[in-house]
């Protein structure tokens, strides 16, 4: 027996409600984060991610309240992020009940943020979220919810982020996100093999076979999905049983 591969449902919120969209656009309501958190906790999720993806993050107190109420439902770890760009904001998120802080755009703009977070909370609490889009033979880092291009190469940025203090990479394929056509296996393997920290693969999940692929060929340590769980296309328990039968080590709760 060794470390289990993790299944992580993601709640993208507008601060208070879970929303979803394709390619980061066309958002629609997908439920109450607190109810969904309780359901996933009971179904055997290994961890939960809650993100504030509202374009104008003018409602931070609401999001903190969502973290607080969500974490109360959980006996598993909770990551939270979305627009965190200072130590002070990270502290508020941790005080509200998050175990890990997810940073994306702010880390690209100021990589020292990763070092500061890591020094205060430990590397195990710092998740560097990278939105990557294929560009020829490499992947380009995108920021602001995938809308804005950067000059950074995703593999290089992942390596640098770990050097700066990230303890985990949450890697989203902008090309696959919302398409339900499977994870970007090449991207995931490229990043996972380039860094010394765990990698969470995200974007494109639908079929149980997609998860098998990303854990084996993609070398992912964890896989994240949203709508297939919210819409009950896939139950976490059934997915884990499928993975176990396929020879992928997972935690099946008693």
């Amino acid at each position: 027996m060794s470390l289990a591969h993790r299944i992580i449902p993601c709640l993208d919120t507008d601060g208070s409600r879970v929303v979803k969209g394709v390619h980061f656009e066309g958002l629609r309501d997908a439920g109450d984060p607190v109810e969904l958190a309780a359901r996933y906790n009971a179904e055997g999720a290994d961890e939960l991610v809650v993100l504030d993806i509202a374009a104008a993050r003018d409602n931070r107190p609401t999001f903190l309240e969502t973290i607080r109420r969500t974490s109360e439902q959980l006996a598993i770890p909770l990551s939270a992020g979305g627009g965190i760009c200072s130590l002070e904001q990270a502290r508020a998120v941790v005080r509200a009940g998050a175990d890990k802080i997810t940073v994306n755009t702010a880390a690209v703009q100021c990589p020292e943020l990763l070092s500061r977070l890591s020094a205060e909370f430990g590397a195990q609490a710092v998740v560097l979220a990278i939105d990557a889009k294929r560009d020829g033979d490499h992947w380009q880092v995108r920021i602001r919810g995938g809308r804005e291009a950067t000059s950074l190469d995703a593999v290089e940025w992942a390596r640098h982020g770990v050097t700066m203090g990230a303890g985990e990479i949450l890697l989203t394929s902008v090309d696959r996100d919302g398409t339900q056509s499977g994870f970007d296996i090449d991207l995931t393997a490229a990043i996972s093999n380039a860094v010394t920290v765990p990698v969470i693969a995200s974007g494109g999940a639908k079929l149980p076979g997609h998860f098998v692929e990303v854990f084996t060929r993609g070398a992912a340590d964890a896989a994240l999905a949203a709508s297939i769980f919210h819409d009950q296309i896939q139950s976490i328990r059934a997915l884990k049983e499928f993975l176990r039968n396929a020879g992928v080590e997972v935690r099946l709760p008693c």
Partner: protein, 201 residues
């Protein structure tokens, strides 16, 4: 059951508190020397860098009362860094002596595996454990750490392996500690906390 939860600012204090309250414990969170000296049951949580924990214990003059409480036999549960702090020192902060209840040094897990050791892993039992009572063999617990204590000591009741073997469950009389996070380990973790509360009663 009255539990005194040592609050030196660690990130997981609220979730440990919540998990203990769910089990019916009366929890007081404090960094007050006298309250800790007089406690009937102590929990030392911790996550992050060990210098933060040891530094905070010294800043609040808590080193002495915690050592005394343990030596008196006050039921004690250390979680994650709260386990590591029981040894002499840690490679993570080589110049800071830890609580030194047990001999040995906390060291970094090997670079041959991904670090931090983050996620759910199983335990290998080395002897009968009160903390693991009525928990099925093969149960998973949530870990989030890069440093760990040696596996070999008499105090070890169960080990875990990630790159190398390390102590996961420590038990000696009324002194208990776990490297994993029982407050984040689902039903199995809640059972560990329940077992501790029972042993402490």
């Amino acid at each position: 059951m009255n539990v005194t939860l040592i609050d030196y600012g660690a990130g997981n204090v609220p979730s440990v508190e919540r998990a203990l309250r769910r089990l019916g414990a009366q929890v007081e969170t404090t960094n007050n020397t006298e309250k800790i000296a007089k406690a009937r049951c102590l929990v030392l949580p911790g996550v992050g860098h060990c210098a933060a924990l040891i530094g905070a214990l010294d800043a609040h003059s808590l080193r002495h009362p915690i050592r005394q409480a343990i030596q008196r036999g006050t039921p004690f549960l250390g979680i994650c860094l709260g386990l590591q702090a029981l040894y002499e020192s840690s490679e993570e902060a080589p110049d800071l002596p830890s609580l030194g209840i047990f001999p040995g040094r906390v060291t970094r897990l090997p670079e041959t595996v991904k670090l931090p050791h983050m996620g759910w892993n199983t335990l290998t039992s080395t002897r009968t454990s009160r903390l693991l009572a009525s928990i099925p063999a093969g149960a998973y617990f949530y870990f989030a750490h890069s440093f760990a204590a040696p596996a070999a000591g008499q105090e070890s009741a169960a080990t875990c392996s990630h790159g190398r073997e390390f102590i996961a469950v420590l038990e000696k009389d009324n002194l208990f500690a776990v490297q994993f996070h029982p407050e984040k380990s689902g039903a199995a973790g809640a059972q560990v906390l329940q077992n501790f509360l029972r042993a402490a009663a």
